[in-house]
Subunit: 287 residues, 6 copies
């Protein structure tokens, strides 16, 4: 998996915001009232569902923002497959700070592990084909690079990170330009040498037009498996082929078997349920 | 529904962040290359699934941050039930700005409408009982008040917004304090007059202890329907009763029928799938 | 006192802003020109007036933002009563950094200790009664949770932290709703189960209306001691009673003696004079 | 008065922070529940104490951040002397937004008018002398330029805004440098041509040393009236003279009469009580 | 030129920072003291050197942040070639606000026009060849996308915007990987389908290795014109060729004539002198 | 040189912004793919041109923000004169983090050293005269205090840091006020005791007017050497004299020889080319 070790630096403001929205006006009034300031505790993060872990570094940074005295030692790194009961990490520190930070840390970890798990399930479903699962720009506002990282942790790849890192000419662009040709030509005239150009096509006839314009990739939108198969043959190695539209675990294998290079899936990031990861305190005793 | 008309003010930084993570280094290189700067367009937001709408104001603020020349007129306000094909809003403005802003606006709208829709389905499932559905602190980092608003749009209520607006004494606090009594007493000694105190109990015997300490609410965690029924009788009107733990659409009716006041559900906010809302451009023509 | 140990995390941006408004364009041009970079110094924070200390952690965080090499060891924690000459803390570090940070650190400490001291004087004035002194939302912009913490350090309590943590129905809300009944009913229809409802009343007849609607608390605004006494009897244990309006050290004892639960006072936070705390360098010698 | 018309731009982040600390998690739950969204209202800001107004622009910006539909028309500009009952401004807009914004707006206005009023009282006390009242760096964290503006609104002047806009050599700098001479010489060697150099002196002998070094100003710290008089004669027109230390309304006239140029007073900014300004709604009626 | 119309949105924080660093503690004390608040003025931006304009929108946003009442009407858009005396834009508004904003607005405009002008001179120098001038990541901290936009305004193109939008394998990566092959293989194994891979080579032998690995582009670093010519022949259409290293106006034509696709130049962004653009007030009269 | 040791604190947001604009969406995809996470490396910063170093602390803070495990030990501090080949600093740490941070760190260092170098060349050109070289407000947006620091590192001084730290009355102010006299009088009426007043004059007759009004400094704008000489005589010690307008290395000596106190030069900050400083890795070996 391609790690991005600087995600905690990039997302420090979000971690802070997430903690502050939990602390609110007055902080953790329960722990502050009940738990002695100098009490320490140890807890473990434990999987309660099968899945794939993602987000340990961000979770650790949430704990450490609450108290630099908290340490986390990971048993299973990001990208690990876990089954219920598996210990993911052991965390140690002042009890109050652990109680205060636990919800924020888990909110990151369960969400990102949910994305990784959804991805892994789809990757598994198409194993043996040459297709790759990629995510889209349908991400949770403010969490895009984190979620795209989680997709990689789950074995998937990333399509565009933003509006800036590739040209993707969709139906509306084509309509506004008056056709595929003028749209592609305007894009080619302006795109830098590092930028790839992809065109969304709904029919094989549109596909032919796009290929003739020598684009880098074609997005085969909502095509049937039969159309996809024909499209893949038509394209040959002239472009990267991407299938999209209403992909499910059930439909993905047949789509992958058509020979497309990429299958892009919005729900990996916008609808993956959180992975259930629990947090168990070890041997709590009053002082 | 209790609206919070100041959410766009409160979430302006997140809307900006969400746009900037989409604009990246170089902005919308596709629309900028292809669409003439002075072309206008009109689009409609249209439901593609049945559900409940939430987040129109935030979505509108995303479009307007891209261009103040964009106007949105809502056909269905937040909290409206929609069926596939229903037009939610009509949006008008410069074509480029619409294309640039659409993904960010939809990412907010589909996510929040997903939360509202999940909530509404659970609210409907328990209609006729006296129970209310409430959400938890298991929210997406950085989006808590938005998601809690979406829960209200779906007909639910909100449990704690943060660690600061009520005391919730859980098993770990009790263990660290050495029992329910010292935990509640410490909390009472410190809590302000506006703050309610709730205690999590796993057994009826713990429940009795908590009630004897005159707490405001009891969290009946992972109890069976039978236990819940007994608990409700025991409590009478001495405290608010809240059931939690692995609530589903299937199990909620029986739990609600026990007479509990509140059913709290984490997955409304951490695992609700996005509502599928499309964005159709009207009569696009080249210029 | 209920501490909030996360205030330095919550107020890091304000500490930074306060330092930057002192550093301005060019930093501490006096210390940088005069004091050798490697000189160290020790100073003590010493009370020059009798009072109550609050804000040591925030002050320490200001020094440490200037230089992590500065250490502060507190002799008297927040909430301590001090008399002139008492040493509050000893601070050690690079001399330049101490000189640069001292004003910002003191501005926090003297202001918050002033709030704590004003609170303590009022708390003392009503000792022996059942009343509690609480502060209001009349706080210095940007410092609310800090000032509310200082009130607690002085022995007081906190009324609402914001517009969100309780319903407080005032005269203008009543006028706009067309009476106490519709105002309370609308609020009850919308308030969550954790939210208490308080109504401001000016007369005993209004009080009776509010009590009949079973509100949680009544704000007895600007009533005479005689009216307050009658109000307390009328209320019995049906609601929390709060007296407000032009409370002074002189008038507070009689008001407290009426049996009200709470006396709310705006000037604790908006008009408390700073506590005079000095900063004495020990044994400065040139190098 | 020297206005700074860009204070609303400079303090937009603080106005936002102040509103957000009042809105908290859920916004104005009272007004949102009770007041119809389309109801409008008009209110007046009215003095309840004699004093001097400061901060109208910042207050207006708080209201307008809540709703751009709010308009404020000032009857008395900043710097105006008001007596109880005087209308300072009329404000018109959506009733909910007015109710939501009023506390934040007043917190700015009452605090800054308090600073202006304290300043004006001291300025009046020394009228007829050549002395000017100036404030210090003992300001509320995060509000320095606002408070210094309020001092000007009250007829005072400003001493240093920060550590960067003048060299002020105090006792500790002198001790660390090993005397007045090395301290001044190091400062002169480094200070830019726009920067004035002031030295704090406690005795007339120190004063003579400082004058011999041709500094721009001398801070006569905690001197008696008699010493000040002698100091003023010694200085002649060789430097600006500034008296400081425990200045009160009672002691200021005699100090001013010594002929010093400036009297610097910390409590104008750190201990001025808020000016009582009320906010009266006009003709509220239910709809 | 590929415009990025959202640069003012993306750079609003920098425009604010730039204004605030000019306003400092007290704002524009000269204009505030001297110019009546209600005086208006008109000014023109006029070229004083030949060059290419870039940055008008950002400059306009600086003026408008000072006062929304300022309007700017451009005579020459970004990318226009100007000669001394040419009017670039006319600006109208309150005189004080114009005086306050002018330096910040010009600092943006002159810097970005300097970058555009430097680019244009190099583009002109190699006209008639197939080479394109591109900039690098050697940009001014905080201004990268602005400077890259200015390069486009001057007729150039952009190489990588950041570390994330292409793989560029340099000598140090190769050394750490133990050769070109392992470096490229590791990169290929991890790079997404939109990401191009470029390898820096110093010799023709290294070039051959890179080509054999089918990379997308080769960076021919510090090669002589002769080597470049051979390299271009070797590459054919197997990869994009980029020449870099000590390019000047004098050396660029010969390098371009070798047939390379791209010439990358750091000094366009890190060392371009500002373009001299003046700001002339029209018909100023006292009031 | 007057250091400002708090520049890393003041510029932490810019360092973060600069890193984030380089990390973009996905971080350093080259180093993350190729370099093992636990590999360490050592590099040296080495001058490739003669010049003066400035900005080592800021550069170090960029590296350390990427990884706190990076250490920098300076061989030549800011203000040092270096010749090609000189080692400025040795830097040690994780190889990936070094590769990721190097461009940002160099962008600061080369830019600021460029400013220092330009300044030093001009300072050298006028050595032996009594004139000082000072910079202006023509700085790069967002970097003002850094660039002004670099000017000091190069042996120059600083003119105004912003609009707030001195009154500078220019031609347009004079026109709007209706003459030098009303302009100066308005300024004097409002300026604080720490604020110096400077007037820009174009002719000797204007100079006489300004001197008669006892201003602190006169800006002799675009005067010939002959005029400057006369102006210096006219002024005597009545004011500080400053020459400005189209100063070059060639013209500066004659201007300085006229006896003016200050020569202010915009291009030190807006047009100084970056100093070429390289970064050489030592003994890189694969693992």
């Amino acid at each position: 998996m391609t790690l991005n070790p600087l995600l905690p630096l990039m997302y420090e403001p979000l971690v802070r915001t997430a903690l502050l929205e939990d602390l609110g006006h007055a902080g953790d009034i329960t722990a502050d009232a009940i738990v002695p300031a100098d009490q320490r505790a140890t807890l473990v993060l434990r999987a309660r569902q099968p899945g794939v872990v993602a987000g340990l570094d961000i979770s650790a940074s949430a704990f450490q923002m609450v108290s630099p005295a908290i340490t986390l030692s990971a048993e299973r790194g990001d990208g690990s497959v876990v089954t219920p009961g598996d210990i993911i990490a052991t965390i140690d520190g002042p009890a109050r700070a652990l109680l205060t930070g636990e919800r924020t840390a888990l909110n990151f970890l369960c969400h990102l592990s949910g994305v990784a798990t959804a991805t892994a399930s789809l990757v598994t479903a198409i194993s043996g084909t040459r297709a790759h699962i990629v995510c889209t720009r349908k991400t949770t506002p403010g969490l895009r690079s984190l979620e795209k990282y989680a997709v990689r942790a789950g074995g998937g790849g990333n399509h565009r990170f933003g509006l800036d890192d590739a040209v993707l000419i969709k139906d509306n662009h084509i309509a506004l330009a008056g056709g595929i040709r003028p749209a592609v030509e305007r894009a080619k005239a302006r795109a830098g040498h590092l930028v790839k150009i992809e065109v969304e096509v709904d029919t094989l006839s549109q596909l032919e037009q796009a290929l003739a314009l020598r684009v880098d990739a074609v997005l085969l939108d909502n095509m049937t498996v039969d159309e996809l198969r024909k499209a893949v043959v038509m394209v040959g190695d002239r472009a990267i082929t991407e299938a999209s539209g209403r992909i499910t675990i059930a439909t993905a294998p047949a789509i992958a078997a058509t020979g497309v290079n990429l299958i892009s899936v919005g729900w990996l990031t916008h609808s993956a349920p959180a992975l259930d990861i629990g947090l168990d305190y070890l041997d709590l005793k009053p002082r």
